[in-house]
Subunit: 137 residues, 2 copies
């Protein structure tokens, strides 16, 4: 295949036109978040160097950080063996990827307790969500 | 909620009863693979300490490494803020997670070329797939 969009044609978007996209800190390797991309989001991510996703709940394109300022600068884009998952190596502006104000969305760890296994929040909130999203006038 | 399965009830399986599960090397932080889990796969992963997934193509439960010997020993299980993605920190037996014989399924990187952007295989095959899967008699 040739042409500027040939690489996009190789991505196996699902029936809804989406693939999962994983954002990983390019330096620490920390897994920060997982969101969804459609073809346009992936193309814009490549063109601009900033991560763009498709919001399934809001049904619209979304530039990560457009409200919070927590932009994701993309160092590398990878594709898996089944061509249906995207991996981004990024630098996270503000050091906060999660809308809860934590570095990573994966802040709950499964731990054994007296009443059985449970999810425990093990990472701190670096900035309250009200401060991240509440300052818009 | 109480009872041994309360933590499973907190996971937001999709309409097909599945969530994406990411396997990350517990030491290096390398992203190794993404597969799907149903409730049973997640429960078995916890109970046995070995990663289990749901194969959508074969429509059956699948213990990672059952054919290849490349088992995944689970050190930690995390859940994301939307409760719909699982992250496993694992030790990968054989150092090969991908069915192509590479360490990671994410062996293709998007690179600029004279004919436009293209996916380039940047990681080596550590063991040919025929050697991994061909020795069954």
């Amino acid at each position: 295949m040739t042409g500027p969009a040939a690489w996009l044609d190789e991505v196996a978007f699902d029936a809804a036109g989406l693939v999962p996209a994983i954002a990983q800190d390019a330096v620490s390797g920390r897994l920060l978040m997982v969101a969804w991309m459609n073809r346009q989001a992936l193309a814009l991510t490549r063109e601009t160097g900033f991560a763009h996703y498709w919001s399934r709940s809001r049904a619209r394109l979304w530039k990560k950080g457009e409200e919070s300022g927590h932009l994701q600068r993309v160092h590398e884009i990878r594709l898996d063996c089944d061509e249906d998952v995207i991996l981004l190596a990024i630098a996270q502006d503000g050091g906060i990827a999660c809308h809860t104000g934590r570095e990573s969305c994966f802040f709950r760890r499964l731990e054994a307790g007296p009443g059985g296994d449970r999810w425990v929040e093990v990472d701190p909130v670096l900035k309250p969500a009200a401060e991240i999203y509440g300052s818009r006038s």
